[in-house]
């Protein structure tokens, strides 16, 4: 575990302009070990709060519940690293499920389409939706935040138009088993190894290839990346396409897992996906982040949600995720500030990092003070 964590950190540091590798590595390793501590603490609390926590059944349920948002968080990570965001993923979950549902359920003039073909079309819709986001953001130079806020409404609306009030259900058992059942003889659901394989692929591409280094370069400084030969627009578009495709896969899995396609599928998932990425240590301002951290965040959040569900406060899961989101953005800042404060007290106001903090504050304080 420690080795892996360091590997992730080193890679990230490798893309930075490292004057001192250890210094650049330090905060990252600390963040991931903090996550590990939170994860272990949650498991201990869960075990203390409910005897059902450390059971195979609960493991299988909690993991199954988290897998759709987990794979979407993997795809969201490089997008946030390049400084963009995709708020529309939850609507793509609903839309891809709706496409699969209406095709297979015979709600279109095409009649009853075979399920594999319906799934393929649903995934294609994900690619097209992601491409639409990416082209609007990169070719037209529009802010990702607003474009994906617009497509958040648009894709959800399309799902509503396709389905109306219809609910498609009774998918073939062979397909729902994949989304719902465990690997025979274990309490590990089929979706878990799927997530792990995707995580390894994302890890390899982001931390071990030139593609990943380009992604970090874009997040650090777009024009510098462009001048050093990175095709910034194409890369960002490609990442949106990947996010669209993965969201469509998540939509198909979700629909099969609940054996139900309705237009509200995927509601509120964007919050959880962004939270997973940020909780995993991805800098919301771009340029930093590791897949290892996001995987730890997935496990941590699954554990937290499971505890909340077991102690009977599942109505507040969303609110808890909201807290975690704000916590994970503010925690590094608060830690840095308090460290600066300690340094300042110890060194009598001569800490170099305190000076840096003061410089950071200066522009927004302005000359009016």
């Amino acid at each position: 575990m420690t080795l892996d964590t360091k590997g992730g950190g080193q890679d990230h540091a490798g893309s930075a302009t490292t004057n001192s590798p250890i210094a650049a590595l330090a905060p990252l390793v600390r963040w991931e070990s903090l996550l590990l501590i939170i994860l272990v603490a949650t498991i201990l609390i869960g075990n203390w709060a409910s005897g059902d926590f450390l059971t195979g059944l609960n493991f299988s349920n909690s993991i199954n519940n988290a897998m759709e948002v987990a794979i979407m968080a993997l795809a969201m990570t490089p997008i946030i690293i390049t400084g963009d965001i995709d708020l529309s993923v939850q609507s793509m979950v609903g839309l891809s499920g709706a496409v699969m549902g209406v095709l297979w359920g015979g709600l279109t003039p095409l009649g009853y389409v075979p399920l594999p073909l319906a799934i393929a079309v649903a995934l294609l819709v994900g690619v097209i939706g992601g491409l639409f986001n990416g082209v609007l953001v990169t070719r037209w130079g529009l802010p990702a935040l607003v474009v994906t806020l617009g497509t958040l409404a648009l894709y959800h609306g399309l799902a509503q138009v396709l389905l109306g009030t219809n609910v498609v259900t009774n998918f073939p058992a062979g397909y729902t088993d994949f989304a719902f059942k465990n690997i025979p003889g274990t309490f590990v659901p089929w979706t878990f190894p799927t997530f792990l394989i995707l995580a390894v692929i994302f890890y390899a591409v982001l931390h071990r290839t030139w593609l990943g280094r380009q992604i970090f370069a874009i997040g650090k400084n777009k024009s510098a990346a462009r001048y050093s030969g990175v095709r910034v627009g194409s890369m960002r578009t490609a990442l949106f396409v990947v996010a669209g495709l993965i969201a469509a896969i998540a939509g198909v899995i979700l629909a099969l897992r609940f054996d139900s396609v309705r237009s509200s599928n995927g509601a509120n998932m964007t919050l959880t996906v962004v939270t997973l990425a940020v909780l995993g240590g991805v800098d919301i301002n771009g340029g930093k982040g590791t897949i290892m951290g996001v995987v730890l965040a997935v496990l941590t959040l699954a554990a937290v949600q499971s505890v909340l569900r077991l102690v009977g406060v599942s109505a507040y899961i969303e609110a808890a995720v909201g807290f975690l989101l704000i916590f994970s953005v503010t925690a590094p800042l608060v830690a840095r500030r308090s460290r600066d404060l300690v340094n300042r007290v110890r060194l009598g106001g001569q800490s170099p990092s305190a000076g840096q903090a003061a410089r950071n504050v200066a522009p927004s304080r302005g000359g009016g003070v």
Partner: protein, 319 residues
């Protein structure tokens, strides 16, 4: 009013007449009253969102603030803890408090507003769940003098609309003629320059978020009056409508430009579209498609206008 708002007002009137021509049920006093009364609620929420967006931030939590205030006020009145005016004050105070929390998280903790309000969107909804605890407020339990304004009008103009017009006028004057209003624009268009001339950006942004909570509070109270029945999901998904109204009304998402009158016209436009759909036999499920398309078209138009003005600037510099 600038030319952009005037032309948009023209489009809205033409749309009105067109729908009125196509169907006789539209330009009827009763229909116009119910439509504009609801538009007034969205408009009031949009006033606050406008301030926030002009400072180059965004507030996604508006719908949850509306939900919390609507529920708490309705609940206090049902339990007869407070008189009607007291409940109003209480609701507005809650709105201001929630808005101030958003402002503090954004300015003091330096969380980007999109992330901060995505978080508080969920947290405030959790508060509504906590307070409601599964119980709904029903119309019959609310005091009559609270729900009465929903049916009152002044020479045919609903009381809600008069309140909205008054608030629009006040905000339009504040934005145009006061130091605070100019500071909002200054922070949004160029934060560094604003700091150089002595604008305290953090204070301005904090005030914008707090005012957004204030207006969401009023909108929440009106929501309860308008619908009577309130549950913990009140206002769900309305943030998108409010933001769509603001951007379609010509407030630039890049900050620094736009007017509250434009935002109000945007709310009116969307309200008319919403109202015209069932009358024109278009399924209601198209609404979200329209909201999404409207946001995308507005932001595209914004970018095109900006590109053209930059090109013109470059051209005039060459001469």
């Amino acid at each position: 009013m600038q030319s952009r708002e005037l032309s948009f007002a023209g489009i809205t009137i033409v749309l009105c007449l067109l729908v009125g021509y196509l169907t006789p049920n539209f330009l009827v006093l009763d229909n116009l009253q119910t439509t504009t009364a609801f538009v007034a609620i969205i408009t009031i929420a949009a006033l606050g969102e406008t301030l926030v967006i002009i400072t180059k931030n965004i507030d996604l939590s508006v719908e949850s603030m509306i939900g919390v205030v609507a529920y708490v006020v309705g609940n206090e009145l049902t339990q007869k803890h407070l008189s009607v005016p007291e409940a109003w004050m209480f609701g507005i105070a809650i709105g201001i408090g929630l808005g101030a929390v958003n402002g503090l998280v954004v300015t003091m903790l330096r969380v980007p507003s999109i992330v901060a309000t995505l978080g508080t969107l969920a947290i405030y909804r959790g508060i509504a769940f906590f307070v409601a605890n599964g119980r709904d407020v029903v119309l019959g339990d609310l005091p009559v003098d609270y729900t009465q304004p929903a049916y009152q009008d002044f020479y045919g103009v609903p009381i809600f609309v008069i309140l909205a017009l008054f608030l629009i006028a006040v905000m339009a004057v504040i934005m145009k003629y006061t130091v605070f209003g100019r500071e909002i624009y200054a922070v949004g268009s160029n934060a560094d320059a604003a700091a150089t001339i002595g604008v305290r950006a953090r204070v301005t942004v904090f005030s914008a978020f707090t005012l957004c909570g204030f207006f969401a509070g009023i909108a929440g109270i009106l929501w309860g009056i308008y619908f009577g029945g309130i549950d913990s999901n009140t206002g769900l998904n309305e943030s998108l409508v409010v933001i769509a109204a603001v951007v379609v009304g010509g407030v630039s998402i890049a900050g620094g430009s736009g007017t509250v009158i434009g935002a109000a016209l945007g709310a009116l436009f969307l309200g008319l579209v919403n109202n015209a759909l069932p009358i024109l036999n278009v399924d209601q499920s198209w609404l979200n498609v329209i909201y999404g398309a409207v946001i995308l078209v507005a932001v595209l138009a914004d970018a095109l206008i900006q590109r053209r003005s930059e090109r013109n600037k470059a051209r005039s510099r060459l001469r």
